[in-house]
Symmetry: C2
Subunit: 356 residues, 2 copies
DNA sequence: TAGTACAATGTAAACGCTTACAGTAAACGC
DNA sequence: GCGTTTACTGTAAGCGTTTACATTGTACTA
């Protein structure tokens, strides 16, 4: 990777000198009032005389005052912020999810903080998570990105949590939001068999920790069985919802002459990897190998041929997660388990009539 | 969008009852020591007797104690966290950037908090930003997502800030990181003219607020001029770095019979939109219309034909941004302006010999 | 054995804010 | 003219930590 450093026209570098930043006390002194009055003005609680307000605003400007949100949070025991913990894979899907969350929060006083990680978080000997009661009023957690024990701990502390794409840990009643995986996957595989006449269908799974992947695999196996096809374990590839891994797996299959006539990738990312491996090997899609995915990510329809997949309402998940979290925050009753419907999107990559 | 609510087997909903959460004081009392000792143990400062430590850890477990990071931040004036403010467009590119940031921070005590927005943030009458000194030790800001006045305010307060893909505001010395836009774009357009023999090259721009887009456009214009081609203003389309917008613009062009033989999209997202519009209209790429982008996002090589574009080192930006921010945080001198090199990636969509 | 060093702990003052409570003066009702 | 409201403001106690400083007892030095 080429790296070029260029200094701007004024070549000298410079240090930023730390000033003693103004606090509410400085503002109060400068305006000749007490801190309580400043606080009241800034929070719109109680009334403040017009002339006083002017003096205070003036002081704020003079001193470059910015309220310290953490001190605020400490004092009011409330942050007006929700947290989201997500992996750094499944990009398009995640963006839709985050958009759903942001849009739902748009007209409220809340904002969102996001933490990205691929290693499950846990609280060890009292050390806080990057997102917790200190900076948020509740969190939305993707899959297994916070470990079960920690989730139970948070639940015991009464900290609002919503789980995405998994079941609650044992002995826990944390609310979960899932897609309707099984039926959709079953229908998709059935479509491949019935409408596209495929017999040797391979499956590309995601992480073992993903219940989504597991359910899709279960449905795949059942569909094969129900249609009198045997399931060859060699035709189940271990992926991780990443493009590159999927690409390698399919390259391996091709190299070993696996001879599949269709690939069901557990998500569109992996379908994209498979897509590329097939193309590189000169295979035609869908003539030689049919290809289908799951999620209906934005780019999927732009592939050529466009990808047959299952539409999973990511934005909707964001919306639902926020509603559920808010209910918890406001101490309203919440449903434990929400399942969002999915829908088959037949395009061209599966080699049969398209429906859109 | 179909929405299905299903309650889990136990149908009753339930409220989480808020317990009075344990504080360090509770832990101290429970273990029969002072809060100072607990704090010392948890932070590994000073020494604590083995037996005492055991008692304290036990108390922590008993009480489900979790340290309150905000109180901590207040007391130590340090958060061990950096903030990143990004838009919700340009997805793949952003993911690479965030990965660069995360990877750089991996072995440090720091973690990252992300805020996603499309409306520039500003501090009005002392109200803090979602990311600021209360929860981070410095922030990385994408493009114009924080307004100039606020940036100057932060600079005056001595709060570390690194700007991405823009120049510093007037009267400011905040460090900026940019791509080498002009030369790369110039080379790309030149390639289209010389090697692919195109004459009617259209340009799809991003937001007007984007200096990247502006520079790429400047280079486009200059390249046309330098090769004796006139620039038709109708061939410059207003995009916003989004797939759909680009798709519509190109559809409009096609509908109006603009008759271009090449399209230079200011980023790969828009190239993807153009790609789809062309295909829908039955245009062949590159035979009828050559297509090139900027960024070299992950999916670009998977399009068929694979997209000719300019590789922009997104991961490297993350790395550089973090280093620069850390230097500021540690009060070390920093460079004002860093320009990262870019590189032409000739694939097939431009209709000339490929180099990879 | 007196003196010193050090390990282990406690005390209490920050950190920057909010807010319950109390106080004052002017305006009001009758 | 007196009691009552109302608008405005101040005082001070938290919120949950960290940490400088003080204190104690014990082990070591000479």
């Amino acid at each position: 990777m080429v790296k070029v450093y260029k200094m701007s026209s004024d070549l000298q570098t410079q240090q930023i000198e730390r000033t003693n930043n103004a606090t509410i006390e400085d503002v109060a002194r400068h305006a000749g009032v007490s801190t309580a009055t400043v606080s009241r003005l800034l929070n719109g609680k109680g009334n403040v005389a017009e002339t006083t307000a002017v003096r205070i605003y003036h002081a704020i400007e003079q001193l470059n005052y910015v309220a310290h949100a953490a001190a605020r949070g400490l004092a009011r025991q409330k942050n007006y912020t929700i947290g989201v913990i997500v992996p750094d894979t499944s990009t398009y899907f995640l963006v839709s999810l985050l958009r759903g969350i942001n849009e739902t929060l748009e007209d409220t006083a809340y904002s969102t903080l996001i933490f990205v990680t691929n290693n499950p978080l846990s609280i060890k000997s009292g050390q806080p998570l990057p997102l917790g009661e200190h900076n948020t009023d509740g969190i939305i957690v993707f899959n297994r990105l916070v470990n079960d024990e920690t989730l139970r701990l948070l639940e015991r502390r009464g900290f609002p949590v919503v789980l995405l794409f998994r079941q609650p840990p044992a002995n826990s009643y944390l609310p979960c939001i899932n897609f309707e995986n099984y039926q959709a996957a079953y229908d998709l595989v059935t479509h491949l068999i019935h409408n596209s006449g495929r017999r040797r269908i391979a499956f590309l799974r995601g992480q073992v920790s993903s219940s989504d992947s597991q359910l899709r695999e279960d449905a795949y196996r059942q569909a094969l069985q129900d249609h009198g096809l045997s399931c060859d374990e060699n035709m189940i590839g271990r992926g991780d919802f990443r493009v590159q891994t999927a690409e390698q797996v399919v390259q391996g299959w091709l190299h070993n002459g696996l001879g599949m006539d269709a690939i069901f990738a557990a998500d569109d990312n992996m379908a994209m990897g498979a897509f590329n491996a097939l193309r590189q090997a000169g295979k035609r899609i869908p003539e030689d190998v049919a290809l289908v995915g799951f999620n209906d990510d934005l780019p999927s329809r732009y592939l050529s041929p466009p990808l047959t997949t299952i539409h999973a309402p990511a934005v909707e998940v964001g919306y639902t997660a926020v509603s559920t979290l808010m209910a918890q925050i406001d101490q309203r009753p919440i449903p434990h388990n929400i399942v969002l419907g999915t829908r088959l999107v037949i395009r061209e990559s599966c080699g049969s009539h398209k429906n859109e």
